[in-house]
Symmetry: C2
Subunit: 656 residues, 2 copies
């Protein structure tokens, strides 16, 4: 008789090993942190004498699930913003909130809450990628789960690193300190090819190689990423990162939605693991990953939940079921990715994808004691057919729920017994989460109160204060204006020709003002577009003051380069009304009587409002403004518009 | 103060009405079976005096979910067979088991178990379609749920009706008896266009019109159905059933996966409801229903689980989430079918699709008191953001689980309080289900033990006992045979020319024999194929006896017309080995010496084995066989094959 610490008996035991070996009734012996033996109950009862024996009657004993890709601290942002396009969600909500709130405290709390949910839903290992990753590691070790923890490095300023070099240094120190931890595998995460430079990809790969740790990244998640990569580098994503030596490292590649057969072979030869994220890919409409082909190629394809802010949970039972369903539907074959394959992805293949297959993912002697017990007695698991040996996998994948998990052991230590968490205080975590949520709610509510604060939250916006004199007059015919500009007292310094497409957003609350999205097409002498520029401007609802001769004093405006498509701003600002206004503008910068003036000859084409002449000049005092107003009157006479009635409304006010 | 039976207070109350009105804190007053009032807590507390007041702090009060299409008794077949193609699953497993087991007792038990699961997961109404539907109604009324119960009518013999006329009569009697029931809406279900005749479609529509009850059917579920309909009738499914007057009735159409914009308009004008079944469509690889377009068209699209044998549960929380996810992914738009729309489908629109929108689906005064309470305190629902009024829908759809349902009321009666079922004895139901499952397991295990019993289970197979004399000889050259057949002592009665494609399935257990799938292509004088016939034959492993002159006595064989594609049989019988053998066969029926013989001249082309001459004759006694053996020897001489060595093996034995 060999001595063991613990013997589990009378279980429906599924090992998830390469032969999908099952024992019923089966038994498993644990010694220290590892599995000593697995087999038929009668054999183990003969061979092992254990300090503690647990009867698993009516339960499935199986490897814990492996969540192959997530961002655990984002549990604190779950449900913050949904049903939005990726850019609106990320740039409009996640990043502004992360910039404001992500701290070591935030990360540890979010991780502890995630670990509670992971344990309750039968996950024993996961691969994470976030900021302050050492705090993810600290909290995960406290909870007792196994994880590959990957410190993010990217080219933008991050909550934990003002530059990518700082992020890399943070990753190095983290890896050095944690590389021998029994539960945590520290790792580095160049965020994605489109958020990293070549230099970052090379440096992070070198770091991973130096310490022989995994490298975790997002690859080929969206069509847009692949298209932009092809345009920028002339090749798809996988060959491109290969060129940057990424595959020198042991790579865990999340998503791989848009890759072809050649890229799959590259991943295979590189020994890279893939994390398939069904819910995330569906919810963000990223596409359908070629899971059947990746499995046929021989890739280690694990399954991940992605972050709980885009899922909105960490429930691997749902992901496994969905991985099977989506594969069937997209390959038009209901026999594709059967239950046993889906469950293999979530256990053995997932562990291999994380490069920890030697430690976990199956119930085999010598591996760490990472396993769960599932209760098959709840109603939704009834009845139980046992004719087909694959029936047990179908039951787990298609009928069982995460709430059927009763017990969880990781590394030889119980984390949950009979549904009770042993390492975490759920009530206290929930209360802390509630307080964080209230602060974030308050922050966003305040921000969402004004269009201005939403504009500022996007970053890059600037306030411009202008004091100017301006006059606008409708003209029937542009010819006198063009002729008048040839007058010898007028010196033309510069002439420009634009086509301006202005979209005005307005809001139920008129005090918010209007937001103008302007696209300027610069037109050359031949009528060709030479450049395009887009800019956002927030126009106040009313002028601060209007004086004689239409002198405008102190109008402040906020503007920002519009780096996202119009659609983004439409979805982000959610205007109650939208008006399009298109015009052709000839713009001259002239000298007249030693003063500088702008002359605009606008042809309003859509809607068709005819020609307008605008004369403007910057000013800095009431006295200067009065002087310029006289000069403007003279200019109007020279340009054949002396008899016109000034139009005091903006174009949008004429239209609206 | 108005008196009420019950007042629910302090709830996050979502009405799911047309304006998605919410009250927080909200209250609801119940009187008898109906909702008396809904509104702000402070208003209702002022206006209503209730015998009982329940504080719903921390909970969502919302309409119960509507499961728009299911087959509830099939809970007893959950997990029986998975990861199979539709035909293998249906013809190979479901129908044989249904033929054997479906009875009023089976149906009532399956319904009670389903009702327990439905109540626990927050469903208050459902639309069912099965056999013995009156027993579904009895059990549903006992459980206290609301349902549209639809008696199946189809052209095949059913467990409850040997003919469609019997099914129709059963439907009529059921409707007459139940049409005024407070919970049950009796209805008729012509199963699907491909399982019904025109006559059935017309007769069921007329019945539904006569009693003004809904008509429930499956429409346009698979590409195959639509293709076959186009081939057979020259039109798609919806116009076809319209032509059969189906839309004279109030139709509830399940699936509608493969319909176009014109068909959607037809459904809209007919006032038909649609039941979208996301899991079923994915798991059976039926396709992606055009949900976004159906909603844009203005159709009442509800959500259903379909039967639990193909899902494998009745969890509407999963279906709602999936309906949103799939719509986003297939329309490449993450803003498609946002949470509030998905939840509307599962409540208000679902009730309208079932033609019971006047009774249920929203929390509005005058409607029946059908509602649920959801607990938002579990970890996976944390944190709660309240900035966005749509956040509550996102939380319910993307994060909450069916296990968060704590209380369920239908028609003013509590069916569950604090997670405890009040109308059903779960333990007893589970025990009865266990006994049924054991019987079904035993039945199938026995059947699966032999290829023969699996063949018989498909139906239509016949046993053929043959006593025959036969000889087979390899010939180098077909010319002498063809020449010999012109001998004056030989009278040719009939000549046939086939190309035979034979696929032999063999099994690890050799005693099972071999199963041959033969496709005979009949070839005419011009070499054209005039007809194709497929047949399955089970060939015994060894002959009962072999005598002089290769007289075979008593070889019995089972054969059956092969009405399904080869792929079906491959997946159903799951052979360990498969061999293809193709030959060209010239076959003559001749008279020689007043006896009838078959002469086959076979050219084995794939694999290339050359020519064989076979001479056969039926026999009935040893003496007759001896006589014919002499005649065969003479025939062989006439056909130039007297010197050949008889080949005693079958072709497959030569090849294998």
């Amino acid at each position: 008789m060999t001595r063991a610490d613990l013997l589990l008996t009378n279980a429906t035991l599924i090992t998830m090993d390469e032969h999908l070996t099952q024992y019923s009734p089966g038994a498993l012996a644990v010694q220290g942190d590892s599995i000593l033996a697995v087999g038929r109950e009668e054999d183990l009862k003969k061979d092992y004498e254990a300090a503690q024996v647990i009867d698993c009657s009516g339960k499935v004993l199986m490897p814990g699930l492996v969540n192959a890709h997530t961002h655990v601290p984002m549990t604190l942002l779950r449900g913050l913003a949904d049903d939005l396009r990726l850019d609106v969600w990320l740039l409009g909500y996640m990043m502004p909130v992360e910039r404001e709130f992500v701290s070591p405290e935030f990360v540890q709390l979010g991780t502890l809450i995630a670990c509670a949910e992971l344990i309750k839903t039968g996950v024993t290992s996961f691969a994470d990628m976030y900021y302050f990753e050492e705090d993810v590691a600290i909290a995960t070790a406290q909870a007792g789960l196994r994880a590959v923890c990957s410190q993010t490095v990217l080219k933008y300023p991050a909550p934990d690193a003002p530059s990518w070099e700082d992020g890399l240094a943070r990753a190095r120190e983290f890896i050095q300190r944690w590389k021998d931890h029994p539960l945590i595998v520290p790792s580095v995460a160049p965020h994605a090819p489109y958020t990293c430079t070549d230099e970052i990809l090379r440096a992070t790969a070198a770091l991973a190689v130096e310490f022989d740790v995994p490298l975790h990244t997002h690859l080929a998640e969206t069509v847009r990423e692949v298209d932009e990569m092809r345009q920028g580098s002339g090749m798809p994503v996988i060959p491109y990162v290969k060129k940057q030596n990424l595959f020198d490292a042991k790579v865990l590649a999340a998503h791989c939605v848009h890759i072809d057969a050649g890229e799959m072979r590259t991943l295979l030869h590189a020994g890279a693991g893939v994390a398939h994220n069904p819910t995330s890919n569906l919810k963000l409409a990223s596409g359908f990953a070629p899971v059947v082909k990746m499995l046929e190629t021989g890739l280690n394809v694990g399954i991940g939940t992605d972050g709980p802010a885009s899922n909105n949970d960490l429930d691997m039972f749902e992901e496994v079921r969905l991985a099977s369903f989506i594969a069937k539907a997209t390959s038009n074959d209901p026999t594709a990715v059967p239950a046993q394959t889906a469950l293999t992805m979530a256990t053995r293949l997932g562990a291999k994808a994380l490069h920890i297959g030697h430690l976990t993912g199956t119930l085999e002697p010598g591996k760490r004691a990472d396993f769960i017990l599932l209760d098959l007695s709840p109603l939704h698991n009834s009845p139980n057919f046992r004719r087909d040996p694959n029936g047990i996998y179908a039951q787990i994948v298609y009928a069982a729920k995460s709430s059927d998990v009763t017990d969880v052991m990781v590394n030889g230590k119980w984390l949950m017994r009979a549904g009770q968490l042993l390492t975490l205080d759920e009530a206290s975590l929930l209360e802390q989460a509630r307080r964080f949520a209230a602060r974030i709610d308050e922050f966003l509510v305040k921000r969402e109160q004004s269009v201005l604060s939403k504009l500022i939250a996007l970053g890059g916006s600037m306030e411009q204060e202008s004091f100017e004199i301006q006059v606008k007059i409708k003209v029937a015919d542009p010819a006198p204006v063009l002729k008048g500009l040839g007058h010898p007292e007028i010196t033309i310094q510069r002439k420009r020709h634009y086509r301006q497409h202005d979209v005005y957003f307005s809001f139920d609350d008129l005090s918010q003002g209007r937001l103008r999205y302007r696209e300027d097409d610069f037109i050359d002498e031949k009528g060709q577009i030479t450049n395009v520029r887009a800019r956002l401007t927030l126009l106040g609802q009313k002028r601060e003051g209007q004086f004689d001769h239409d002198v405008i004093l102190s109008r402040s405006r906020f503007y920002a380069p519009a780096t996202n498509p119009l659609r983004f701003y439409r979805e982000y600002f959610n205007p109650s009304k939208e008006v399009l206004l298109e015009k052709d503008r000839l713009r001259w910068l002239i000298w007249y009587q030693n003063e500088e003036f702008f002359v605009n000859l606008d042809h309003l084409e859509n809607p068709d409002l005819g020609y307008f002449l605008e004369v403007k000049s910057r000013t800095w005092s009431r006295r200067d403004a009065d002087n310029k107003a006289h000069l403007v009157a003279q200019l109007l006479a020279l340009l054949g518009a002396a008899d016109g009635v000034p139009e005091t409304k903006d174009y949008i006010e004429i239209v609206a």
